[in-house]
């Protein structure tokens, strides 16, 4: 049943991701939708938890320069559209309930990944700022020495 449901969910991909609007490019939020399909497919067979493929995909998006806000926005959009699409497409209320539950799990997981990425970035930026400040201190010392040398040479 789960596999069938996952297949039927995968059919909604174009509608949920608004694929038409994005032409050949990978539509934003595709990784979240794929994770939702995986969650439905593996429901009952694994312990729900962090989907490493989703983690990887989000990390890749961030590494390629997508902003955290953009990732979060697409997650939100995919979740909302999937809920609407499943309400229309699924006749069995039990299936619809399962999709809503798992979609929320994936969307919350994706948000958590983004939050932790933002926290990590903040930590890296704090450290980088410290390094900059240390460099500034060394440069200021060098500048002071240069000013002394300049004064001496100009006097000579």
């Amino acid at each position: 049943m789960s596999t069938t449901l996952a297949d039927r969910l995968a059919v909604l991909r174009d509608e949920v991701l608004e694929t038409v609007e994005h032409g050949d490019g990978e539509p934003p939020g595709a990784e979240v939708f794929d994770a939702m399909v995986r969650a439905v497919a593996s429901h009952g067979e694994t312990i729900p938890g962090l989907d490493l493929a989703l983690h990887d995909a989000i990390a890749r998006r961030l590494a390629w320069g997508d902003r955290e806000e953009a990732v979060l926005a697409s997650t939100e959009a995919v979740f909302q559209r999937l809920l609407k699409a499943s309400q229309r497409a699924f006749r069995d209320p039990v299936e619809e309930m399962l999709v809503a539950e798992l979609a929320a799990e994936v969307a919350c997981g994706a948000a958590r990944i983004v939050a932790l990425a933002a926290v990590g970035r903040a930590g890296r930026e704090r450290a980088a700022r410290l390094r900059e400040e240390l460099a500034q201190r060394r440069l200021k010392d060098a500048l002071a020495q240069q000013r002394e040398d300049l004064a001496r040479l100009e006097k000579a």
């Binding site: 806000e69 939050a115 990590g120 460099a135 500034q136």
Partner: protein
Amino acid sequence: VTSLALRVHGATHTGNVREGNEDAHVLDRELGLYAVLDGMGGAMGGDVASAKARDVIHAYVKSKRQAMAPRDLMAAAIGAASAAVFEEAKSRRDRKGMGTTVVACLLVDERRAVIAHVGDSRAYLLREGRLQQLTRDHTIVAELLEKGAISPEDAAHSAYKSVLSRNLGNKPEARPDVVEIALQAGDRLLLCSDGLYGYASGEAVLHLLGGGEGPEQVTRDLIEAALRGGGGDNVTTIVLEVGRAAVPRATQVIRSTGAVSWWARRPLFLQAARDAGLAQSAICAVLSPEEAIEIVAGNLCEAVFHDLEQTTGINVWTYAENLAHGWFDQGGDYEVLRELVDILRGASMAVIADIRAGGDSLAIMLEIAVTRALIVAEVAIGNVLAERLRAIEAELVRATPAIAPPPPPAGTAALASSSTGLAASASGSMPQMSAEGAQQTFVEQRTIPYMQAVRIDPPSPAVARCLEEARARAIAAIGADDRAGRREVADCIERAHRAALAPTGPSDAVLAARELYGVRALEESGMAPLLDALDQARMAHVRAVRELDAGIEEKVTAMRRVSTAHQRMVGAVTALVIESGGPITARLQEATERTAGLRAEVGRNEARLAELERRAAAARAARPQIGAEP
């Protein structure tokens, strides 16, 4: 929907400095319209501007109340008022330049209110002990700050911090910000002019508004706090209380018998402080032992008494602030101050124990009130410490060469104030403001832009019952012990439940996220507990819905609502995390640019040095050698 009673009171005061009152206000219970206006222009007719705008807004709302949607109505009323003030100013030379701010609240029904504002008059919402500013000041400094063009320190000291970027009257059209909020029982709304928040601290406002007094008393106390803080401007406040009072009758008991019981045990308090060795503290080194007891312990005892009597924390706050300033000015350590506060806490507990031993049922309430007072003292000391750290940082910044502030990163719209966030999310649609400028402001300063507007209708009674049962089951499932983690999970469930019930969609999820986020370190250790709690809450909540003994249709609807509520709450928390990282990025960029500047300067100097060295060498070569052949 249960009917919520409403209590409202408003008052205005000229203040200690001004000769006339240029503020105006509207209190129309029948119409549900409340507004505070702060006129500007002094001799040029600030009072005329505020009175004119007040009359126009009132008349406009009265005439079109039934004909227009509330948000459009408020925007249009403010627009009409601006046009009227502009015309008035144009018609008389001596009134040129007059204008007014406005913050207005229209109660749509017992559960919804529309807040509209222009200028720096503010609206606050007190919900469950948290004070939230619903409006964003339209001042030049605030706008520069939000765009990242100036730092918060510069903003605080800017000479232009009161210069408005928007007001009613300088142009025929207005650009109001309009927010729609969902009301809950126990909520308190405060509308005020800058004469209040400019002279009374945020803590004082929070304490007075949340102190449990009725709106009439709170209004009086707020004005008194502003006057005590200097009263340099006209001050006007309106307090609206929705439903039950925020704090039960216990407050009244504390104010009367509690304060008296406390004061009656002053000698016991002093003795306990003496026994605990207060006089030996390094802070009291310059005082005789009796002076130390009388001044340090006696003053705290008196401050606690006054705070109990007035249900505020102002006196203890002031006491602790003075103590900390005095000690830190001498170069004293925090550790010593901490020990002194512990001694005073011990003395307070001795008094409470004495009251309890007398079989007085008041003891528990008094213990809570006194503990709160001591927490206020610690917060005040922490505040002084933070202030000093900020001053040191500012000094360091001043000591380094000035650089131009970095431009805001391209394409990164500032994640802005909570008020805009509420505007975006609570409305259920993009703000429909008449003025083009207002729409533009929203786009520039959107907050949580990905929180898409979704209007959720109120649930049917059957679904509401399901949601209620799921909430109860989920909380029961996580256990009843009072460990902090459990409490946080239960809190998340409660808030998600309310968001799932909310008829206005995402407003509650966003507000809940802000409240849950509170003040946290932007580190994994600060964020992980909240994210874990949200995760556990979602799992427990959806499991409870799944296991409900109800019709399948109701269960599906409940699941959809609960899932959406949790997803939005987690999304909003993540947005806040991202938002909190903004200043860190800006500071790094600033530091990088400064380093690049220094590096360039070193390079230039290096070139100059090489040039001088070369010239010196040439000069040396050209100089005749001593003892050389001619």
